[in-house]
Symmetry: C2
Subunit: 211 residues, 2 copies
Amino acid sequence: MNSASYHHGNLRQALLDAALLLIRQRGIEQLSLRAIAREVGVSQTAPYRHFADKNRLLVEIAIQTFNELAQHCQAALQADASTPENIRLCGLAYLHFAIANPERYKLTFGQSIEHRQDYPELMAAGMDSFAVLLDLVEQGIQDGSLLALDAQLMANTCWSTIHGFASLAIDGFYQRQCLTLSNDQLINNMIDLATRAICRQPPDLMKNTDQ
Amino acid sequence: MNSASYHHGNLRQALLDAALLLIRQRGIEQLSLRAIAREVGVSQTAPYRHFADKNRLLVEIAIQTFNELAQHCQAALQADASTPENIRLCGLAYLHFAIANPERYKLTFGQSIEHRQDYPELMAAGMDSFAVLLDLVEQGIQDGSLLALDAQLMANTCWSTIHGFASLAIDGFYQRQCLTLSNDQLINNMIDLATRAICRQPPDLMKNTDQ
DNA sequence: CAAGGATGTGTGCGCTGTCAACTTAAGGCC
DNA sequence: GGCCTTAAGTTGACAGCGCACACATCCTTG
C-alpha cells in the first residue's frame, strides 16, 4: 500500500473515527461533513461514496454507540447477584457510560439524527440495548423480586428515569454537581429510588425510611 | 400608525411568534433566522436589532416555555388532594404539555440551545418550573406521605422519570404507541410507579401487586 | 491486458448565520 | 419649527455548510 495513494483503503471507518474525534472535541452541533473529510484528508464529497448523506453517518455512529452501551451494561451484571441488585448495577453502568461519553450519548438519543424511525437497523439497535434491562425485569417478575406488573411498563419506567437523569445531567441542568462521578452517592441514591418503584419489597433506603 | 411603515412597531414579539409557528410547522432543526424574518416580512438582519444572535432568540422561547410549563403544572394541582395525588396530577400535566408541544419541549430541553449555562435567566426559569415539583415533595416530607429523604434527591428522581419518558416518547423511541394521549392508561401507570418510588406507603398498583 | 465498477476529485448551487455600512423614522431640545 | 441624536430596519457581502453533478483514477476480474 503506497501511503499517498489515490484510494484511501479504509475510508469508511476512518470517517467514523474522525467523526467521533471531532464530536468529542467540539460537540455534535459543530460537526460538519466537510470537517470530517478535512480531518481525514480527503475531498469534501468523498464521504458520499460511503454514506448516503450526513444523517446516515450519524445513524452509523448511533448504532455503534447503542451496541457499546448494551455491552457495557451487560458486562456490569453479576451472576450471583439478586435481580434488583443487577438492575441497580445495570443502571449504574448505563449512567457511567452516558456521563463518560456525553456527546455520543446526545448524538444517539438526541435530535441530531433526523427521521430516526426511517432506519430500522437503528431502531433495532436501540431495542437490543433496551432488551438488557427488559430481560432483567422479566427475570425479576419470575423470581418474585419485582411487582407482577407488565414488564414493558416497568422496564420503560426504569429506563425513563435513568435516561432522564443522564439527559438532564449532560445538558447541564444540574450544573457542576452530579456530572462528576466523584458524586457517586447521589447517583446511587437515585438508582435505589428508581428500583424501589418496581420492587415487591422495597429495600430500606438510608436511615429514615421507616418502613 | 401607517400600515406599511418602515418601523414594524412590535417586531420583537412578532419574531418570537413567527419562530413558534415555524417550529410547529417544520421542527426546530429546520428553523432558520432568515426564515423567521421572511415570515414576518422584514430583512434578514432585522432580528439582530432585538436578539444578539439566533441562540438568544431560542433562549427567549425556552424561557417562555418553561414559564408556561410551570403554570400548566401548577394549574393541575387540587387543594383538597393528597400530596402524592398532587404529584401524580403534576406529572400528568407535565406529560400532557410535553406531548402536546413536542417541538417546543425539544427546543427547551434539547441541544438546540448552545451554552445554556451562560444564560442565567434561562437557568432560573428552569429552576422555577422545577420548584413546582420540589415544593410538592417538601410538603410530602412534612405531612409524612413521602419518605424522609433529601427533597432534592426525590424531586430529581421524579423529574428524571417524567422528563425521560417525555424525551423518549417525543424522539420516537416508543413509535406510534404512547405518543397519543388516547393511551392515557400507560402514562398513568408509569406515573404511579414513579410516585411509588418515593411514597412512604406505596399505593396498590393494579390487581396483582400482592403487597 | 483490456474493461468496467468502485472509489475519490473539482466545481458549483442554494442555503445558512453573521457582520459592516448605510438609510429611515421618531423624539427631545433649543 | 428646525436640528440632532438615536433606535430600527436595509443592503450587500463573506465564509461555511449539505449536496448534486461530471470527471479522474485505481483495482479487480475476465
